[in-house]
Symmetry: none
């Protein structure tokens, strides 16, 4: 009886999973190829799919089946699947269908206006739409907080990274904010004493950059039979595990950002593609959470691809693609280039050392916005004050300030901490992978990612959502998340310490 | 109460409409950009969306609301919308879920075998599977016939072109079959006396062809703010009215087919884009039927773009794109090229004069198959006899005979007549448009499609499904479909008569 209930639940969740995949493809299309005029009808399509999936998840039948289904007779993965079903059900039943539909529409409208406001640095243009998004987000946070017995902000984070709690994160981030000023000063001093970086000379055609990106994707192990590389304003990894769509954006003046952006998204793509085929479209078969997802992009980008070992592989490849840049493409110059530290305004261009400062700023601001302690019209000023305090930088346009990221304008509050949790987790996974497979750095130097990806397949990707993030980290590395591993990685890389 | 029922129906159908749009976008993606490995999960996504929409349409709640909803208090378009809701509901509920499932499976299996049988010209290989499809189609036709009070064949046609009846079509097609032999002989004689066609020299880069296609799309009035041009194996017009996606395929040896293919699909696109915004995603807001849709592609392609007037506009454009082809791009040479007549075996390559013969052959055969008067093992012989009679051609392989089109093998019986009804309707619309706006030919010569498209917007596109096709034709042209208009168009164009 209860295992029959489980079987019926699997069927229901398979439908919801297929709807989720459809929505994922439509999101990719919207960002990568859709003409401007398609926004309104796309919003209707996405709202309809989301509402139907939400109704299916929150229906009385699903609730009854979940109440009925026991773990008896289920194997380990089925039990984990049932737990995940219950988790997403709890999140979903906290919100009314009207609230879900209103949020979806408000976010689509806000995102569209943001695309207009950002290049102009015109925060006021998008303010009313962002206010609508924030109001609905606060309403959702309150509803979830009650259901999950969490604070509103924790309730929002829990959707992106199950189990993430401000009480655990705040001390880690406060420590980093305290560690940063002195460390950053020493890194900048150390950097000054190094040979100056030689920069390659362009222009670098978009076509050549795309080919280079695809070459590196193949090197890392991306399967083009099951995915594509395209262009969008905000690079992302979307689609489905069997059809992974990553995007980047190009600048003909320099290729370095797009190239490393592609490497980063490829890390995400490898995670999606490595999820267990037997559990496609089931809750337990999904990637665990956004922090763990970010750990997979950052282990490939930050830990592997910005290492001196990988720069030795890159060097001849770049010389072949862009001849006449011998000195710029020398491995140690490339490594210095790809690990140069320079405090700046833009999160996505930030180096590994200052990146957490961008996240900490957003983490603090979005907590205040959700709590109601900060009003939206005051956001630009609060942002600019935070940048001054954390990185000693003076923001002169909201284009380089609070308008730079899509997240809030798309309703994603509680997401930002995942980036730096991911960076710290990546450092810990990489150290554990090398402990287990000492040949990994030498393989990376040969452009062979198979040992690293193989370790991740077993220890992270293949586990999907069968364990919690802390359980995955502990099972893979033998201990809970230890931010000290990240700091030691930074000290080794940036101070040769 | 009954108008409340209508309001609820509008909400339900808006959801189904949004799901239909989502499926349309996913189909476009599958044909235009999806990597091979995405097929299995895409099939799951589409099946899920289709099943959900079908369940919504055939649910007891929808049936109850349709029974309850009266026309009192509704305006003209709302009444038409209610009629359309009832029509699609009747079609959907006429078949048992078991029959729908059996048909879907039989068609998928048959189509797969057909892909193997066609290149070999091996009809016997696919015969058992086609028999299964035909048996189920006849069962479906009988079920729909009873529900719709139509003959089985009319019931099948009604799904593709609502209101199409064999009693109206047969005399029109018989007349054309009688007119054709003598007319074709005269056309071929006339053609022999003309200056030989000069063919342009390539190669023609894909990039230049795409630019040319986009230029012509813009000329016709395609709104790139609401649509795109892409590439797929089989050209089509998909997407949604607010985001029309047309595709073509390129051949670097010659540009003429891709170019005219783009013009053809642009005609379809203009229809979709011209549907009334207020009725998006409602049944009454959809394009009327396949014959009327084909009339919109053919009025742009056959009536407008293959005219000498348009060739005068094309001439300098082509000379600029592909220099050194002066003689080939002279307007009268272009016009002769784009109106050359040559009887052949393949429908999709047929010219305007012989195309109806291909359709009439299929129309007669599929009627006999559905009626049970023709047995499938006798189909090849009957096909070949028909080709001999209609076009005096001797079929030597079923590859170029009854295996050439996917339609029957995919279960689409009753679709073929739409092609030639579309061609005849296009001729009648074009004549009526010129009667109303005598400046249309001169405008086309200047590359100005606004007067023609403006007339179509009001008289065809904007009417969507608020009237039946015969009503639209009568309202727009003052009389029912009159095949004589098409014959006179052919006489003028092909005999200068």
């Amino acid at each position: 009886m209860s295992s029959n209930a489980y079987t019926q639940l699997e069927k229901r969740f398979a439908r919801m999973g297929a709807l989720g995949e459809a929505a994922g493809m439509l999101h990719w299309d919207m960002a990568a190829v859709m003409p401007e005029g398609g926004h309104e009808s796309r919003a209707e399509q996405l709202a309809t799919i989301n509402v139907i999936a939400h109704e299916m998840l929150t229906s009385a039948e699903t609730g009854d089946l979940l109440a009925l289904a026991g773990e008896g007779g289920l194997d380990e993965w089925q039990r984990a699947n049932l737990r995940e079903m219950k988790r997403v059900h709890t999140h979903a039943t906290a919100l009314s269908p009207d609230l879900v539909e209103a949020s979806t529409k408000a976010r689509a409208a806000c995102e569209k206006t943001w695309r207009e406001a950002r290049p102009k640095g015109d925060f006021k243009l998008v303010l009313p739409r962002l206010q609508a998004v924030l109001d609905l987000t606060r309403e959702a946070a309150a509803a979830k907080a009650e259901k999950l017995d969490l604070s509103p902000y924790d309730a929002l984070m829990d959707e992106f990274e199950p189990g993430a709690r401000a009480a655990d994160i705040t001390p880690i981030f406060d420590d980093y904010a305290a560690f940063l000023p002195d460390f950053l000063g020493r890194v900048l001093e150390h950097q000054k004493r190094q040979v100056p970086i030689v920069y390659p000379k362009g222009p670098f055609s978009i076509e050549s950059q795309k080919k280079l990106g695809e070459k590196l994707m193949a090197t890392i192990g991306f399967d083009f039979h099951h995915g594509r590389l395209d262009t969008s304003l905000h690079p992302f990894c979307g689609g489905t595990p069997d059809d992974v769509r990553i995007t980047t954006r190009y600048n003909e003046e320099q290729f370095a950002d797009a190239m490393m952006g592609v490497v980063h998204e490829t890390g995400h793509a490898m995670y999606e593609r490595g999820l267990p085929v037997a559990w496609r479209r089931q809750p337990v078969g999904q990637a665990r959470g956004m922090a763990l997802h970010e750990s997979q992009s950052l282990i490939v980008e930050m830990q592997a691809a910005r290492s001196l070992a990988f720069c030795r592989y890159l060097s001849p490849l770049l010389s072949e693609t862009y001849p006449g840049n011998g000195a710029a493409f020398a491995p140690d110059n490339l490594a210095r280039f790809y690990t140069r530290v320079e405090p700046g305004f833009i999160r996505v261009s930030a180096d590994e050392v200052t990146y957490p400062a961008h996240v900490i700023l957003r983490y603090r601001l979005e907590q205040a916005l959700v709590a109601g302690d900060l009003k939206l019209p005051d956001l630009p000023a609060a942002w600019n004050a935070g940048m001054k305090q954390l990185l000693d930088l003076t923001v002169t346009s909201d284009r380089e300030g609070c308008l730079q990221d899509i997240h809030w304008f798309d309703g994603a509050f509680g997401y930002f901490p995942c980036y730096s949790l991911g960076a710290m987790t990546a450092a810990q996974f990489f150290a554990a992978a090398i402990d287990a497979e000492p040949g990994i750095p030498a393989a990376i130097e040969r452009g062979d990612f198979a040992p690293l990806i193989g370790w991740l397949r077993v220890n992270v990707h293949g586990r999907a959502s069968s364990l919690s993030s802390p359980e995955i980290i502990r099972a893979a590395t033998g201990k809970p998340l230890d931010a000290g591993v990240f700091r030691r990685h930074l000290e080794r890389r940036y101070l040769n310490a």
